[in-house]
Symmetry: C2
Subunit: 213 residues, 2 copies
């Protein structure tokens, strides 16, 4: 498989972790967002949204949108499952995923931050305040919800590594990169530190990618 990726993209980072956890081999095709390669005709022909990641399967089918790709990976490679066994537990884990994938990450991605800084005239200060506001708001609710299960293990869902960890770790990485104060989120930070002792997570870190700069 080929993963069209950018080392700092949270959404690509999610897929790198999932592919590693499931032991699926893949090659990376770097797409440099800062150089605008995601807006090139070649890339738009693969992904008309012009966003990373895209995943080209062994059958040359091109999938887009990391949440859809994660569900596809889970259905297609069910070993080392990333979801709990009951439907109700899956709803809980997916709710945590959505809180990051819908209510934090896309509000704070590069294109939105650029719009805030430039089109809205917020500048770099306005951009930073924006990012801190939405990450802190989102993590506040999540920290509260993780309280019940954290005592039972080091992952979001207790002892089981799930999609929730795969969404959370890139988002925390992003928060730390922008100096968000994480003191109010001890459970989230404990999960972050634990996951980053696991090779599948370490190998997926932005600094360890071929296009890291």
């Amino acid at each position: 498989m080929e993963l069209y990726s950018y080392f700092r993209s949270s959404a690509a980072y999610r897929l790198r972790i999932a592919l590693n956890v499931k032991g699926i081999s893949y090659q990376q095709v770097p797409v440099n967002l800062l150089k605008g390669e995601h807006k090139s005709a070649n890339y738009l022909a693969l992904n008309s949204q012009g966003l990373v990641p895209s995943l080209k399967t062994d059958n040359d089918e091109v999938l887009s949108q990391s949440p859809a790709i994660l569900e596809w990976l889970e259905e297609t490679f069910p070993d080392t499952s990333l979801l709990p066994s009951s439907s109700l537990e899956r709803a809980t884990v997916r709710s945590w995923c959505n809180q990051i994938a819908c209510d934090i990450h896309p509000i704070c991605n590069l294109r939105v931050l650029n719009y805030v800084a430039e089109d809205l005239g917020g500048g770099s200060e306005g951009k930073l305040a924006w990012l801190h506001h939405w990450i802190t708001t989102g993590f506040g609710a999540l920290e509260h919800q993780l309280a019940d299960v954290q005592s039972q293990g080091n992952f979001c869902y207790g002892k089981q590594l799930t999609l929730a960890d795969i969404y959370l770790i890139p988002q925390v990485f992003n928060a730390l990169r922008f100096n968000v104060d994480m003191a109010g989120f001890p459970r989230i930070m404990a999960i972050y530190q634990h996951c980053n002792t696991i090779p599948a997570f370490i190998d997926a870190q932005p600094a360890n990618q071929p296009d890291a700069s």
Copy 2:
């Protein structure tokens, strides 16, 4: 079941359509976002994010985040399936859902618009430009992707009503409400018009809810 809902919330509107399509009976508990009822202690005890919708099941479990709830409904009430039968087709449909659920809707919901207008000083003009920009960007990519299947039927995924329609119709409703020019999106508009001839969609429209005002 009890659906904690606000008539104009796109995310609640999705659940109303899905519940109607699957023929599941439910009661609505209105949560008035303009009056701040989503920030009341009672509601935060149910949903610590303070967002609608929430769904209380027959077993008094409270689910949050509409994408997670839609997957739960699909798993729990598999009749009248809202996803295609093959994993690859499901990835396509889920990608369309994500494009709305991640890259349009949460960037344009009430709390973000308020932040743009007030905290960032964009005012009502800046807020409207913001909303038009992200809806138009998102619909542009989606219109392109729907081209291939539209000729085969009146839904996003050709002849089958799927989750993609359930995400799309509330987002189009929202676009029209804010006078987004939809002339460039003929396929999306054809799907919108077709769906709104179906009772499950009509009954879910904001104007037809008990808390409509």
